[in-house]
Subunit: 344 residues, 2 copies
Amino acid sequence: MATISDVAKLAGVSPSTVSRTCSDHPSISERTKERVRQAMAQLGYEPNFQATSLATQNSRTFGILLPPLDYDAYQKSFYLEAIRGIGLFCNQKQYTNAILTGQSEEELLQSVQSMVKSGRAEGFILLYAREDDPIIDYLQSEGILYVLIGKAKKFPGETIYVDNDNIQASRELTTLLLDMGHRRVAYISDEWEHNYAQDRKSGYLLALTEHGLPVRPEYILESSGLPEENDGKLTALFTLPERPTAIIASDDVLAMALERAARGLGLRIPEDLSVAAFNDSLLSRLACPQLTSVNINALQLGIEAASQIINHIENPDLLATKIIVPHRIVERGSCCPPREKEAD
Amino acid sequence: MATISDVAKLAGVSPSTVSRTCSDHPSISERTKERVRQAMAQLGYEPNFQATSLATQNSRTFGILLPPLDYDAYQKSFYLEAIRGIGLFCNQKQYTNAILTGQSEEELLQSVQSMVKSGRAEGFILLYAREDDPIIDYLQSEGILYVLIGKAKKFPGETIYVDNDNIQASRELTTLLLDMGHRRVAYISDEWEHNYAQDRKSGYLLALTEHGLPVRPEYILESSGLPEENDGKLTALFTLPERPTAIIASDDVLAMALERAARGLGLRIPEDLSVAAFNDSLLSRLACPQLTSVNINALQLGIEAASQIINHIENPDLLATKIIVPHRIVERGSCCPPREKEAD
DNA sequence: CAAATTTACGCAACCGTTTTCGCTATGGAT
DNA sequence: ATCCATAGCGAAAACGGTTGCGTAAATTTG
């Protein structure tokens, strides 16, 4: 690899002049700069990354935190899309990102601490947001920059986060069903630990209230674990004396599991049960009938998160902002008006 | 952040002694080492990463290449699992990984070149393998270390790759169907550009031949693009005078799309059509009936790839090895013996 | 007990940049 | 002609480590 002094020699100048040429310093004449640029091109010179960051004391690198071991979550395309968005933006801005993951929360925390103390990372993007997170506590207490994808619960106001307006999205989705004539709409979520599920529930509740409908606790299912494990609870829901005619799932995967359970009980979709969900993953296109789902623009969530963190790295005194990425309800065949006799 | 001389002062030794203590150099007495270690612990010292890599001329970092823009591929959980495996191993070994992606192949190539020339990466893991890849050409011509997940076609023998035995897996899967009594088994793949699809086809062909069955070209569908776009071809396949009674799909997603198409033509699964696929993603558990699929252990593919690249970074004269990660056929409800009248 | 060896550590050079400071021309003002 | 800015560039000191080499003290050897 060519070094700065190789370039300097070839151009007949000193290393400092080459360095200044790279940053387009005004005190170098255009003539000299041109000579230097030619030499750089000729040698295919690119400044050594470690030397630069040692000298400037910044690493242009941040970590991306995947949630610690959570098998099924990893099946979800959301993370990959977000990562891709982050990667895209990084490449543009000449930043580097490092994926961090661990078997456990402690392992992940250790990696984070190590990245910080060794000066490798200038900040972190958390691909998840949960209520009580030791990692956030650490970052917050050390004053380390981080961006959340999801909603900040613990230190809102002082944390930067990128999210959808999940309340609004859920409200719209619920309203869609209500406007079709449904009066018995259920809500199911699996990841209670992830804050966005709570917002989606809030939006659901809001829409019900706005339409003057009562909130029936038996229509709200908040569980966790593999889809299969919920079959019992789902069966209970669908065999209620007044079973719901429509249901909102906080996730496509959950919706699919739910459809399985419903079909097992002889319910047809959408005739007997309308289903709407979130995330608009490939699944929603593959389901029969295709699933009405809210597209949350995961790619753009990633891009915005990267944009935010880089912006804050370069301008440390910027205030904590909150970015809302738009959503889009994609209507497909899984929702239809309720049958006459079942309408309220 | 504490520096090496902070530690040195506190321990009453020179920086070199601290450095040597870190690497457990034999020429430092155990007594002194202990004093230094205490000082390190007290200050929470961790060597500065950029300084270390500048001095030792190695960055303990490699890049992970996602395939350039390929919308649907990103929906697949394979990449995420592999990334997670890589991340897990990296953290253990104190290595850093950087995700690289781009809108186009050129963009990605540029990022790779930049990583190399700036000394940021010591190697790359390619999460995909395709026939004619300018990136591989570049890496090969510059003698840069890389590990493929998938099968190396262009420079086998000189490239390190981690893969499943796709031929064998496909052969077993096909045999499974043949042993059930199926005689008209079709094969469909979408990603012709990815080499593993070709191995899966080979395994399929092999099994047919071993059972003395003819290869019917009309039973082999190799296409690309979104699942929906294949509907025409699939319809043609299923309305053949002698339509297949079983079908192998190179991917779960494809299998789901295929089931949609089949159901649209009134075929029931598995009674009228047995379906078996690859990848064993969450999808295969969510399908009705659940899908028989080959689990390829994506997590371990990632782990092995990381292990290989780190091993080769640290021992540059190691020979190119080839790692085969075991697969596992997960039998679920989507396959059953053909109905009498349809059996050969 | 002197010589030779080994042990245990420090000095200083180096890795490839950035950046402060200072030097040397040059040109304009006086 | 003298003085002062200013433009344009180089020397050298950081940045925080690693490592070859030198050397004093401790130990072994003859």
